[in-house]
């Protein structure tokens, strides 16, 4: 899908809480001796949730865009861990950054790809001149049932992108995007349930791999580009193994995956995962380099984006903390404190 006018990324920001737990500590509690999927995963503090994480990423994105909240005409938040079942995250973010009241705001849900779908909607609004600037936030504070395989990876984090129609001093431009969606029962959470369920029969090949590959290939075909035209590939990252494997199947070497791969140290940040990976690449990419971004959301679907870095990245990058700086301050929790912070201890 190529808009008649390209949308430009003028701000980005990512945030990961300071708390973390090592997978070997979780394995100790549950007596697991088999290999663990990631080294460590991020954990929210006792006063954090998807709203507070979203606000922090939004503020960092505004700093890089050098904009006020009142300049933002749209706020879309993609998440599957809403503090309220009914009451939007986006309105609290809008109030906290000073974007209210003349702003379009809504939360979107499509498992881990909600934010990239929101990004496609925003591309349409920005490139058609409906709004001057809009923001997309991907955020999650994922929960895995204690002892379940998901507990080893369910992490947290947030990432925000600000899009604008201006091309002058932009961070990057979005050439085109594609989507590939089917009804696949790989992972779900019913209303009122705290923890999700997953069907191993559909995890992996029929879900993650199929949807990412089809979305990416459709995009490359539309643009007439090949894997060698890209300097980086950023993927949804539920663990370490899957993104490296799917990149290889698409013809991308490991070296193009690693710069945007944070799952080894933050786990799976769900709706934030692919956008945090993109922010990590923005922290180091040079003007002219091309990035392929492909999300995956259970249920299931993938969105792929072709992004070209612009000159503005050089000057805007250092206006807010980079992920390397954010991840420098980390507190390792034992399982007891992890249980306390995650609300697993009940009265």
């Amino acid at each position: 899908m190529r808009p008649s006018k390209e949308a430009h990324i003028v701000g980005y920001g990512a945030y990961v809480p300071i708390y973390s737990i090592r997978d070997k500590e979780i394995a100790r509690v549950w007596g697991r001796s088999s290999p663990v999927p990631v080294e460590q995963k991020s954990v929210i503090g006792p006063d954090e949730d998807s709203i507070t994480l979203a606000v922090q990423a939004a503020k960092y994105a505004l700093m890089r865009a050098n904009l006020d909240g009142s300049d933002i005409g749209v706020i879309f938040t993609g998440t599957e861990s809403k503090p309220y079942a009914v009451k939007p995250i986006s309105t609290v973010v809008a109030e906290a950054i000073g974007a209210t009241p003349n702003v379009v705001a809504a939360d979107l849900e499509f498992a881990c790809k909600a934010a990239t779908t929101a990004l496609q909607a925003l591309i349409g609004m920005v490139s058609s001149d409906m709004v001057k600037y809009g923001m997309v936030i991907g955020v999650d504070t994922a929960q895995g049932r204690p002892g379940d395989e998901l507990e080893y990876t369910a992490g947290c984090g947030s990432a925000a992108l600000i899009l604008g129609r201006e091309s002058r001093d932009a961070i990057a431009r979005i050439e085109a995007s594609s989507s590939y969606v089917t009804d696949t029962p790989d992972f779900w959470r019913r209303e009122g349930q705290i923890f999700p369920n997953h069907a191993f029969r559909f995890t992996g090949e029929p879900a993650y791999f199929k949807h990412i590959i089809r979305a990416a290939k459709a995009l490359l075909e539309e643009l007439g580009l090949r894997p060698t035209d890209y300097d980086y590939i950023v993927l949804h990252q539920p663990n370490v193994k899957y993104p490296i494997k799917v990149a290889k199947l698409l013809g991308f070497p490991k070296e193009k995956v690693l710069p945007g791969l944070l799952s080894p140290v933050i786990g799976n940040s769900y709706a934030a995962a692919s956008l945090i990976g993109l922010c990590k690449v923005f922290d180091q990419a040079s003007p002219g380099q091309r990035v392929l971004l492909v999300s995956f959301g259970s249920g299931a679907g993938s969105d792929a984006f072709s992004i070209v870095m612009e000159e503005g990245i050089k000057e805007r990058r250092d206006r807010a903390p980079k992920l390397e700086e954010i991840l420098k301050v980390r507190r390792q929790l034992d399982y007891a404190l992890y249980a306390k912070y995650r609300g697993l201890i009940r009265d």
């Binding site: 006792p46 006063d47 709203i51 507070t52 922090q56 309220y84 109030e95 000073g98």
Partner: protein, 134 residues
């Protein structure tokens, strides 16, 4: 924080989310939370002002027996903070262990959950302070 009240939380959103205080037109001093009369000179002409989000710890105390709604946060620190413009306010500190806090420590504001009104009530948000990150 008083008795849980939805209208009170709604009224305070502007001040708690964005650190809006009051500044006396007569003596020029600012205070937080905002007041209609200047506590320093008694001046009745005050205007709202956006306060800076950085400062330093002047003094602090460690809370081990918390009031209702804060029980799960113990132990936590409540500090007297002097912002870079000289305004002093009281705030909870976050992302820090009590033994790491010291007088003079530089801090910055962050948006956090302040309290929830039970399991089915509203969640109160606002600014706390954490050790300066950059």
């Amino acid at each position: 924080m008083g008795v849980p009240s939805v209208p009170r939380v709604w009224r305070e959103i502007k001040y708690k989310y964005n650190l809006i205080g009051s500044k006396c037109v007569k003596c020029g001093k600012a205070c937080y939370p905002p007041l209609t009369v200047c506590p320093y000179c008694g001046g009745k002409e005050v205007r709202e002002v956006k306060l800076p989000e950085r400062g330093k710890v002047i003094s602090y105390t460690i809370i081990r027996y918390a009031p209702r709604g804060f029980e799960k946060l113990v132990p936590y620190v409540v500090a007297l903070i002097e912002l870079v413009d000289g305004t002093r306010l009281i705030s909870q500190l976050t992302d820090v262990e009590p033994e790491e806090v010291s007088i003079g420590m530089e801090v910055e504001a962050v948006f956090r959950r302040l309290r929830e009104q039970g399991n089915s009530g509203i969640i109160e948000y606002g600014l706390k302070f954490r050790p300066l990150r950059r």
